[in-house]
């Protein structure tokens, strides 16, 4: 916030006094004032939106917000903003820089030597605003339509490695061992008196001879060891199938969801009472129950026509089987 002028009141007879710099007083611009100027400037840029929820208001994390440091007659600003999605980030960046530089320099007289813009929030445009195409184009520069860029191919979704649960068990075991060892140390130091479990175990091992119980324990260790080795070496199975209209698969579907979609489309076919689909690596099998009045051949063709468009998106092209029962 700007400090009030401390200069004496001006009057017609005070012109000479105003020329005397020693008597003019001093204008102090606090960083909070620069913050408000920067935030107000940011909100004037198309595409920058205000985000303030209940919690963010309490914690002071509203957007846009700014961290400002002033010194040597210059300003450095870190500006955190939320943008309306979709947006051209480079265009928003350019407009925002121009606006903040201009506003801060005009209102404070200090140049902005550093402006870091960080996008930390997005807000989607209301669905009724317009179609996808127009929403995209109105955000950008009409003279420069966004060039279509091939998206990066995401990694194939895979299940969590089987080694992870085993590794967590090992980690918990290591922590347990550490706790028991710490307890043993405290007992050794006389902090408290109790049975020293590790010492007793080592001494018991020294006296150990063959016993019948060793066989089941050994068998258990072998089974657990094999399970751990399999978990360590097992490849991560794929969990989703890729769907692609263009070159790069962006949407991925689980086999069970493919079955659900196929069944729901099959059910829309006239004459189908119920439908059930199973999906494996090479086949999609749709089993439908038809009404008695509908010919089985017609139902099979219609079901095939209803289901095939989705299957055509799969890169694997599984064989579609339609089984019709009365």
């Amino acid at each position: 916030m700007a400090e009030p002028f401390t200069a004496p009141p001006a009057g017609p007879h005070d012109d000479a006094a105003l020329d005397d710099t020693a008597l003019r007083g001093e204008l102090v611009i606090k960083e909070r004032a620069v913050v408000k100027i920067a935030v107000a400037a940011a909100l004037q840029v198309p595409g920058v939106v205000k985000q303030s929820g209940g919690l963010s208001r309490l914690t002071g994390r509203e957007l846009p917000r700014a961290d400002v440091s002033t010194g040597a007659g210059a300003v450095a600003i870190n500006l955190y903003i939320a943008v309306q999605w979709p947006c051209h980030l480079d265009l928003v960046n350019r407009r925002l820089r121009a606006q903040v530089h201009r506003q801060v320099e005009q209102m404070t007289g200090m140049p902005v030597i550093e402006l870091n813009i960080v996008v930390v929030g997005t807000e989607s445009a209301a669905p009724e605003d317009s179609s996808t195409e127009s929403r995209y184009s109105e955000q950008g520069d009409p003279a420069v339509p966004p060039a279509p860029v091939a998206p990066i191919r995401p990694r194939t979704p895979r299940a969590t490695p089987a080694a992870v649960p085993a590794a967590i068990i090992v980690a918990v075991g290591a922590l347990g061992l550490a706790v028991v060892a710490a307890r043993e140390l405290l007992i050794m130091r006389g902090t408290f008196a109790n049975a020293p479990w590790i010492r007793n175990t080592v001494q018991w091992l020294g006296r150990l001879h063959w016993s019948e119980w060793i066989v089941p324990v050994a068998a258990g260790a072998i089974v657990l060891g094999v399970v751990f080795i399999v978990a360590a070496l097992k490849p991560r199975p794929r969990t989703h199938l890729p769907l692609a209209v263009g070159e790069t698969p962006i949407v991925w579907l689980r086999p069970t969801d493919l079955a659900r979609n196929s069944s729901s489309h099959a059910k829309t076919v006239p004459g189908v009472l119920s439908a059930h689909t199973t999906v494996d690596r090479k086949h999609v099998t749709v089993r439908v129950v038809r009404t008695e009045s509908t010919p089985a051949g017609d139902v099979a063709i219609s079901v095939r026509e209803a289901v095939e468009p989705t299957l055509s998106l799969l890169g694997t092209s599984p064989e579609l089987r339609v089984q019709v029962k009365p």
């Binding site: 999605w85 980030l89 480079d90 350019r94 996008v119 929030g121 997005t122 807000e123 989607s124 996808t132 966004p146 060039a147 860029v149 998206p151 990066i152 995401p154 990694r155 979704p157 490695p161 080694a163 992870v164 085993a166 590794a167 967590i168 980690a171 918990v172 075991g173 290591a174 922590l175 061992l177 550490a178 710490a182 043993e184 140390l185 050794m188 020293p196 020294g206 066989v215 050994a218 260790a221 072998i222 089974v223 060891g225 399970v227 751990f228 978990a231 360590a232 692609a244 209209v245 790069t248 962006i250 949407v251 969801d257 079955a259 979609n261 069944s263 729901s264 489309h265 468009p309 989705t310």
Partner: protein
């Protein structure tokens, strides 16, 4: 999960598995009186094992066990149970030569909120993760089973193309995991 984390997990589990298997096989071979194992057992110095806790270094060994066990356990749990956040991405503006820094999580939220407006979509969840070394905007979409998958896929590819365009060629992927409600229990969505 990162390649290195997965490799660390696999190596640790493999070592523990081999140790368990070795112990079990040794004990069974002892029971079966395999000659070489019987010889090893006969060399077992019981007095020396019993005297181990009385050695000068026993306390230090316990202290080392505490430190190593704690560090090993905590690091391994942290690797497996915490999701690695993506770093912010600096998007260049070639015209002005400046950068804007983008938090990928917020970008994922934007993509998710856009997909949430598609007819038939009931719920979306967004996160930005490093998937095997590749920063990825991962959106899980839950939708009605009657969803027009062809059109939804095309729309998602448009959105992904837009993300790639606005990020100025940064190596960030967009992935939409489409989950459908059961066909016999569709949740009707007002659209």
């Amino acid at each position: 999960m990162r390649h290195r984390t997965a490799a660390v997990n696999r190596v640790i589990v493999l070592i523990v598995g081999l140790a368990l298997l070795g112990f079990g096989v040794y004990a069974v071979a002892w029971d079966l009186q395999v000659p070489i194992v019987r010889e090893w057992v006969s060399r077992y110095d019981r007095a020396r094992v019993t005297a181990l806790p009385d050695q000068d270094w026993w306390g230090w060994a316990l202290a080392a066990t505490v430190v190593v066990g704690l560090v090993f356990g905590i690091v391994l749990l942290a690797l497996d149970l915490t999701r690695r956040r993506t770093s912010p991405v600096a998007v260049p503006d070639r015209e002005s030569g400046t950068y804007v820094t983008v938090d990928l999580g917020s970008l994922a939220n934007g993509v998710a909120s856009e997909l949430a407006q598609y007819p038939g979509v009931r719920q979306t969840r967004a996160r930005a993760v490093i998937e095997r070394g590749l920063p990825t905007l991962s959106i899980v979409v839950t939708a009605d089973p009657t969803l027009d998958i062809y059109d939804f896929t095309r729309k998602s590819e448009d959105v992904a193309s837009w993300v790639a365009s606005t990020l100025g060629g940064e190596e960030v992927a967009t992935q939409v995991l489409l989950h459908l409600d059961r066909a016999d229990h569709p949740v009707h969505v007002e659209s």
